[in-house]
Amino acid sequence: MMGSENPGFEESHLSASREEMENLVLDDPLTTTTATTNNNSYSSFRSANSSISDAATRHPLSPPVLSTPAESDPLLSPPVFRNPNASDNNSYIEPPSYADVIFSPFDDNSANEINRVDSTSHDLDSSLTLSRSSSSTSDYIKITVSNPKKEQETTNSLVPGGNTYYTYLITTRTNIVDFGSSEFSVRRRFRDVVTLSDRLVESYRGYFIPPRPDKNVVESQVMQKQEFVEQRRVALEKYLRRLVEHPVIRQSDELKVFLQVEGRLTLSMSTDVASRMLDGAVKLPKQLFGESTAVMAPHEVVQPAKGGRDLLRLFKELRQSVANDWGGSKPPVVEEDKVFLEKKEWIHDLEQQISNASQQAESLVKAQQDMGETMGELGLAFIKLTKFENEEAMYNSQRVRAADMKCLATAAVKASRFYRELNAQTVKHLDTLHEYLGLMLAVHGAFSDRSSALLTVQTLLSELSTLHARAEKLEAASSKIFGGDKSRIHKIEELKETIRVTEDAKNVAIREYERIKENNKCELERLDKERRVDFLNMLKGFVVNQVGYAEKISDVWAKVAEETSGYAKDSC
């Protein structure tokens, strides 16, 4: 390690890097404080993630599937704050070592954003990481969210001075034919995103739909506006990118409209939950008194009862679910798929482990950050001491000691920089854990789609059997009366009509249930496959990163040890 492969190379850089260190050190108080203020202003790991990744201007690692040359195009990436440290990194990449050869693509990409579009390093990148989708080479779609703007609510503002909100520019670049054009933009506000998300959840029952960013009502009041808007911008970009990664959702109409059509987003059924509940409340008395149809229309069956207008249906299904849980008899249809049930339990366990790992990852990142900070502070303290000794020295030996102390100090500062770089990378790698936690939410959603569809089927089946029983009783009663009972016969016919409609509804419900089951299955397979790849990449990236930086840091200390080896002989 100490006897490096190119001694001549090292030599020429020794003096150069020493000089650089002199200059760098003078800058250091500034850069360390900016870095720390950046880091201190966000308390949570996730926001630290976004701030660190922005500050380090690193090439985002998360979507390896979108292997596009456009990724490294500096014009496309959103304008990002450049950490003055980043420009210094180039001087530290030079010392050749095993780890450098492998992970320098990550470092190079940051240089790319200012210098050049480098497709060669990108190939290295993709050869390192396992590619996720098979069709990654043929089509791609990249979304960028940028340029937040404050806008005024123009219509019907009760408050004079109006309601202000922010819109974001959403730019899409794609070569998928369905979209019509290869590049387009649209301005959207957060409310539209909520709408999109709600529509997708309705239309794609059984799929693992990525969860949308939070509304953050409280945070938006507490945080500084700029911070909040930036946080939201990042979150939106992540969300949309995840959406287009999903092979099914990518093709959805809702998404297409969202990305291309300017103006207020009005997808079908745009009424909010509250008004739906109100509608349902109005309907209920009528239903109870038998005026309106007490029957589920087939088209309503394909949506879950919860959140729908039909309160009566809600009550029925609730009753059914209670009967399922507490009633003595088994419901007519149950979740039979043993494989599914096992999988469900396993997913639950997996989620716990991922959550645990992600928590520990957070504290690991914090510990690394602290280490870097303290190391840097120690270095600075020694630099000050060195300066002091040099200025106030009365004996030459003091100056000699001071010079040696300076070696130690600059080593500490260097090591501190490495720690911070290491951490920025670590954050990106381990972020995969966080992403999958988010995905678990989507899985829950898909599973609950399934169970509510099942509940609908069960309810309808119970209803049918009740109706049949009633019909039988009526028929039996009316057959006893000689000549027929006009009113009863009329009732029987009505009942038979109801039964017919309910049968239809039941069939639709069963079809829906089967469809959702199928979706679940496909999604689970997809999840397994993608998760394996993603996690392996994460592990690989994390480990290579740790090794590489450990090497760099140990080289720094080895050099200092060599420089001050004279002292080692003296000490006991």
Partner: protein, 343 residues
């Protein structure tokens, strides 16, 4: 300091006993005694010497931390102007926890303390040192408790304290600037240097201590992360599972190394640094004493001047009071001589 240490040698290998005079001490075997709040650590102090003033070639006594403090205080009072080696700090909090690391650090520091005294030409002659190294436990306890608190100070010292307060108050009220600085510029420069040095060293030590802590924290979180990775691996199974559990295993190995590194850093880097800080603080204390003495000398000089003026006045007016005043003056002069000599 290192030179002096090698002179005194370790207790294992004393120099040729007959020819060269030597005094070597070692502080060993910390043992926890007592219960609860009154618990304390006792140390075995082994002395090997051929000094004639000592009772014998070897002596072993049991001492506790407050005994070392007693020794330091006595030396500080008796040997004004000498830099007394520093003792490790009292700590109200750590005392109760008494971690193995803390005990070891304290033992080492105490050992270094006594050895530095033993290797100092002047200090090694001290009677208090002899008492410390040889007296039995009861005597030591008596001496130790005798020295605490206000009863330590003799009446003359108390008077001095009052006078100090008095003069300070009058200065503040009258707005008079007392010249505390001596006229020796080199000394002043040195003083300034020492004061500044303490700040820098203290800051460096603070960060060094934090760095030790960070190592420990990183070790801990790496270990936790490793455990979580193992659990995740168990859940995943197959290739991915193995990858996770490998990562977990390695993380735990690394964590152990980090803990070791933290310990090394503490013992080999932070503690010596702290020792330097303490040494500088001890120098500062000595400087303070010198400043005190100087100030007293100035005051006495002034008082003397006033008395002389008084005397002259009296000589002119009332001859019967002259005898008294002269006598007073002589006493003062003698005192002043004493103080000057102790500079």
């Amino acid at each position: 300091m290192e030179q002096q240490r090698s002179l005194s040698g370790s207790s294992q290998s004393p120099r040729s006993p007959s020819s060269q005079p030597y005094l070597s001490v070692s502080v060993t075997d910390p043992v926890k005694l007592g219960n609860g709040v009154q618990a304390y650590i006792s140390y075995r102090v082994i002395t090997k010497t051929n000094f004639p003033e000592y009772q014998g070639p070897e002596k072993i006594v049991i001492r506790r931390y407050s005994d070392f403090i007693w020794l330091r205080d006595r030396l500080f009072e008796k040997y004004k102007g000498i830099f007394i080696p520093p003792v490790p700090e009292k700590s109200a909090v750590e005392k109760f926890r008494f971690s193995a690391e803390f005990i070891e650090m304290r033992r080492r520091a105490l050992d270094i303390f006594v050895n530095r005294i033993a290797s100092h030409n002047l200090l090694q002659q001290s009677e208090d040192l002899r008492t410390f190294l040889q007296a039995d436990e009861e005597t030591m306890e008596r001496l130790r408790s005798h020295e605490t608190g206000i009863f330590k100070k003799k009446p003359a010292d108390l008077m001095q304290i009052f006078k100090d307060v008095q003069s300070k108050v009058s200065d503040v009220v009258l707005g008079k600037e007392k010249p505390v600085e001596e006229s020796n510029p080199e000394y002043e420069k040195l003083k300034h240097y020492v004061f500044e040095l303490e700040n820098h060293l203290a800051e460096a030590q603070k960060h060094a201590y934090r760095l030790v802590k960070r190592h420990r924290e990183l070790g801990q979180s790496l270990s936790d992360f490793g455990k979580a990775a193992k659990l995740l691996g168990a859940c995943e199974g197959q290739v991915l599972g193995k990858a996770f559990s490998d990562l977990g295993a390695k993380s735990e190995v690394l964590s152990a190394k980090l803990q070791k590194e933290a310990h090394q850093l503490l013992m080999s880097f932070e503690e010596p640094l702290k020792d330097y800080v303490r040494a500088v603080q001890s120098i500062k204390a000595t400087i303070g004493e010198r400043a005190n003495a100087f100030r007293q000398q100035c005051e006495l000089a002034e008082t003397m001047k006033l008395k002389e003026i008084n005397l002259d006045k009296l000589m002119l007016t009332r001859s019967d009071r002259v005898g008294e005043a002269e006598h007073e003056q002589q006493v003062r002069r003698r005192q002043e001589d004493l103080r000057q000599s102790s500079d």
